[in-house]
């Protein structure tokens, strides 16, 4: 009897209550929005920080390593395959840096010659980098620009006069 009375009272109170379903829905909606935005913020932060660390880390490490390369063009010897052909250039390159490097290309003025020769610290190219010019030959007393580039992007430019 008492239980039935209590239940009737409760129903009556709820019927007269001003709190509606809208309040619950609003709270739920706000909860969902906050959770969703927080998740988005978290995911964005994780991915952004990761991307930054990846890019910056690669840049720092690669630049830091490349900065330790020092290329010294010790000597450039101008000669020819015949008495009057001024068409051969021999380049001697020394590694005066603190890490080994690999020579990727040599430019004689603006003509590209590709190589793949690794030079250890303190050493010189085991054989001179020999280039045979085909179209434009070198000339006595003309300035010849020799550029040596490594695979890490270090570039050294020197000028020589045959």
């Amino acid at each position: 009897m008492n239980l039935a009375k209590w239940a009737m009272n409760r129903i009556e109170k709820n019927r007269r209550s001003r709190r509606g379903i809208s309040t619950i829905m609003a709270n739920l909606t706000m909860l969902v929005i906050v959770v969703a935005l927080s998740s988005l913020l978290f995911v964005w932060a994780i991915s952004s920080f990761g991307a930054y660390q990846g890019g910056a880390g690669y840049w720092f490490s690669s630049r830091s390593i490349a900065n330790q390369e020092r290329v010294s063009v010790e000597n450039v010897f101008f000669t020819g395959s015949c008495g009057t052909c001024n068409n051969i250039v021999k380049v001697y390159v020394r590694n005066v840096g603190t890490i080994p490097f690999t020579i990727a290309s040599v430019y004689v003025n603006s003509t590209l010659f590709q190589f793949s020769q690794t030079v250890n610290v303190g050493n010189v190219t085991t054989t001179p980098l020999t280039m045979t010019l085909s179209s434009t030959t070198w000339a006595h007393n003309d300035i010849q620009k020799i550029t040596v580039a490594t695979v890490r992007g270090t570039i050294t430019t020197t000028t020589w006069v045959p």
Partner: protein
């Protein structure tokens, strides 16, 4: 107890705590990222700093080869005198010797089967038999700061065969220090000390040890001509300056030089040569003298003394000719005269210079 009661009655729930933790995690992640960035940047900067120090040491190297470039020449080696005027010790890693005027042979050229290019001289016992005399090496290549006249001893190759050589000293830090051998004549127009000058008319003729020179083959650096090789075609250099402030001087093509050997016992045994063009610095580049198109013109002297010295090249077999000067195979002393003909203030004039003695020898330069 009060804190516990406040906590129990607190209206902030778990969501607040979780929210706070979430926020703190985000902040810590940001700090962690910043810290990581600082560490990376610090590593990068330390690498830069270390390499900058190396670069500064390299730029503070200042090794100066001293005259005559190569001395104590023997059949197996020579010494290179050097002065270290820089602020740090210089260690020579390698020496390159290139024959730039192969009139004495093919040594240190591409045609040389030993070197097949420049002669490469490495430290110690060397690594390359660059001249056919055993490995080419050098010792005494560490030069302390401030040292004067240290001798770097090179073995396995010599330079006294009459060719012209370019010598490059390469340091372990990548710096290059070079010189030419024979040592180029030092022409100092501002200081006549040590120069013997004859002034006749408007002309000053310099024929001291530094100013009377010759070249052979395709040499571009001249050497003293008081001793010359026999059986060698040469171009003789004489330095001339104009002393007259009122007019320039143009040399005429009849300007010539005559050399008579001491052993001659009659007239006619002379060697004569005429001036050639101002671009004829060696026998390989001789062109005839053309007074009209490319003359030797000595501009009027400034008010404070003689004008700058101009080299005049003798190598014509006749007036307006070419061919060079060749004293034949006679080893002798040669009494030498010069006749200068020129146009001064529009008037042709001439003068004969009493000259001196020069020597020709087959074993040049060893038997000079």
């Amino acid at each position: 107890m009060a804190i516990y009661r406040r906590f129990v009655r607190a209206k902030k729930g778990m969501s607040t705590i979780f929210g706070g933790l979430f926020f703190i995690i985000l902040i810590l992640m940001g700090f962690n990222l910043m810290l990581w960035g600082f560490i990376q940047y610090d590593n990068y900067n330390s690498s830069l700093f270390k390499m900058n120090q190396n670069d500064q040491l390299a730029t503070s190297e200042n090794l100066v080869p001293a005259s005559p470039g190569a001395q104590n020449l023997t059949s197996t080696g020579f010494n290179i005198p050097v002065n270290n005027l820089g602020g740090t010790t210089v260690s020579i890693a390698r020496i390159y010797i290139s024959n730039i005027s192969p009139t004495g042979g093919t040594k240190c050229t591409n045609s040389d089967p030993n070197s097949q290019g420049p002669c490469v001289v490495d430290s110690g016992l060397g690594t390359q038999n660059c001249a056919g005399n055993g490995n080419c090496g050098f010792t005494n290549g560490n030069v302390a700061a401030g040292v004067i006249n240290q001798l770097i001893h090179v073995t396995g190759v010599t330079l006294n065969d009459g060719s012209g050589y370019k010598v490059i000293l390469s340091s372990t830090r990548g710096r290059l220090f070079s010189f030419f051998y024979p040592w180029p004549v030092n022409v100092n127009t501002g200081n006549p000390g040590g120069q013997f000058v004859t002034n006749i008319g408007p002309l000053s003729i310099y024929f001291d040890f530094k100013s009377f020179n010759f070249t052979q083959g395709s040499q571009t650096q001249s050497q003293s001509a008081f001793c010359v090789p026999t059986s060698t075609t040469m171009v003789l250099w004489v330095y001339v300056a104009n002393n007259a402030p009122d007019s320039g001087v143009t040399l005429e093509g009849s300007t010539m030089m005559e050399m008579q050997p001491y052993s001659a016992n009659g007239f006619g045994q002379f060697v004569r040569t005429w001036i050639v063009s101002p671009t004829s610095i060696n026998p390989a580049s001789i062109t005839p003298y053309n007074q009209g198109t490319n003359p030797y013109f000595l501009p009027a002297a400034p008010a404070n003394g003689a004008g700058s010295k101009t080299p005049v090249y003798f190598g014509g077999a006749a007036q307006g000719g070419v061919g060079g000067v060749n004293l034949g195979n006679t080893q002798d002393n040669w009494l030498t005269f010069m006749g200068f003909y020129y146009i001064y203030r529009g008037q042709p004039q001439g003068e004969t210079i009493p000259f001196m003695d020069l020597k020709s020898t087959a074993g040049y330069p060893g038997t000079c």
